[in-house]
């Protein structure tokens, strides 16, 4: 199976549909959303929805509105996350709220959230299935917002434990990674696959987040520089591990750097933190942890059809090996 090619084909279908959904002509609303959506993204979530549906014997055309809803969800969360984190750059361009202003940024995100549900309602499916898809989406969105609140809280926490970290990232990433696959299964009437797909997300989501934590130190996540997470004081897995290993003076300096405003953190301080992570083996620890979670994700879908396993295993590897 040529998954790269499938990804390309399916993401083109999704892009076309996204264009249609956001084709209104109110200035600073639909154009702002188009601007954000065109900054890129690999459409992994909607493609996962379509491929899961097909691999489970369903008609992926009927899953397209739900798949698109998943991509809208993802992008709405990015738009609002950038505001919440004070991130000014997204995929090497000004974040939407920076280009269009805070007021339009919040409001355009709110419209996108509604378009998630509008898209699902436009599915050519019976109402029982539509309600099931709605329930899956609401649950995922509620869990994600809860995880986000925990994440914001974690940044004020000077004694974060690995269990705090894992609870937060499971909330923030697991459900909204698994919901596309769950929706694909609902459309394919393969409800018996749902539990395994949720378990897959529960492991692959945090693996993805840890890979993201690592990317901040190496590639910089499309923000033109490395160490943004350090400047923002995020309690990444690296921070959590390092705090448990370093001595009292290192801990004091690390927390001082993390807790000061992002704009006051200099490059030297970022590099000092990076070296501290390396000194205490936090980078290796994070890599290993991410790999372990990917293995657990793969193990959780052993009972699913081979074609679906092949696809999900590919994405699991992709999630932690990506460069941006």
């Amino acid at each position: 199976m040529d998954i790269e090619k499938l990804l390309e084909e399916k993401s083109a279908i999704v892009n076309k549909e996204l264009e249609r959904v956001f084709s209104g002509n109110i200035p600073n609303l639909y154009d702002a959303i188009d601007y954000h959506i065109e900054t890129g993204g690999k459409r992994i979530r909607p493609v996962l929805a379509l491929l899961t549906c097909e691999a489970l014997g369903g008609n992926s055309k009927k899953a397209l509105p739900f798949a698109v809803a998943c991509e809208i969800l993802h992008n709405w969360l990015l738009v609002h996350d950038d505001i919440e984190d004070g991130d000014r750059v997204r995929r090497d361009k000004p974040a939407m709220w920076v280009k269009y202003g805070l007021a339009h940024g919040v409001n355009a995100g709110d419209l996108m959230a509604q378009k998630v549900y509008e898209s699902i309602l436009n599915s050519e499916l019976d109402n029982d299935k539509i309600v099931k898809l709605m329930e899956a989406m609401v649950t995922a969105s509620v869990k994600t917002a809860e995880g986000q609140a925990m994440d914001i809280n974690l940044r004020q926490n000077n004694e974060p434990t690995e269990s705090d970290y894992m609870n937060t990232v499971i909330g923030k990433t697991a459900y909204y990674l698994s919901v596309p696959m769950v929706g694909g299964a609902i459309v394919a009437e393969a409800d018996n696959a749902i539990k395994a797909l949720e378990e897959f997300g529960r492991n692959a989501g945090p693996a993805f987040q840890i890979a993201d934590d690592l990317l901040d130190l190496t590639e910089g996540k499309g923000r033109g520089e490395i160490g943004c997470d350090i400047k923002e004081g995020k309690r990444s897995i690296l921070v959590v591990h390092c705090l448990s290993k370093c001595d009292i003076d290192e801990k004091a300096r690390l927390l001082d750097i993390l807790n000061k405003p992002a704009e006051e953190t200099g490059t030297e301080e970022v590099l000092w933190v990076k070296e501290l992570f390396e000194k205490h083996g936090s980078v290796d620890y994070a890599r290993k942890k991410s790999q372990e979670l990917v293995e657990k994700a793969k193990a959780s879908i052993e009972g699913l059809p081979e074609e679906l396993r092949e696809i999900l295993n590919y994405f699991a590897d992709y999630l932690i090996e990506r460069k941006k």
Copy 2:
């Protein structure tokens, strides 16, 4: 019919349900939402949903989840509006985003938006009706976000016409005022009433907004001072009317005051604007316009059952006569 008493009884039921919906224990999320909800509000929208359902022969218990969804919608929009407008005070208390921070403010609003749909999904109704309610809610929310974008744009507009103003306030207020009544009619299986109820909202919503514009000059809308709209540069009906009447020097000064940052606008300037509105008859014009719209709202429901008309007429008068 003792509508005051009904309002009290029904709003108590709604408050109890709201408490249940937001009973999670993640710090800075559910407590932040409780804080906002407990700042008050008269629960007019959910009560309208319940009373409309009953007056059309439906079982209002079955409409309760939708009624609560309408109140959550209203409060989610208030939470995000305060951020978008930079309003720091809501109902004489610090706005939620001021008390809990911008990040939690955006995120808690997002969670509330999900709870709108979760609440509808929890209705004890068949899935066909649930889908109908979902569709009504999505349409109202999309129209409201479109209206909000138009409103933010209008503030940059130095030549706003009454038609710009009306299009904006219809988008921003009409749909989300009528959606509780429409939902009540759907639950009562009185779909033939929907068109009149939408027309009612199309007139009563803007009437409410104009009354709100006027309140800013007299009572101050619970923000501890009058003239916040002037400081924020809102293009109220007063501004739109006054700009069409005043001379070139007055226009220049009015726009100068409206367009400078809110924190740079002094009390004297606010009072000068207020006097200018009075000089050109803008206050009288707004009062008359609001009254006319209320009359149109009442006329649009002439074909509906008497009990329902009595309730809606009461609320129409209430909307423009309220003091806060």
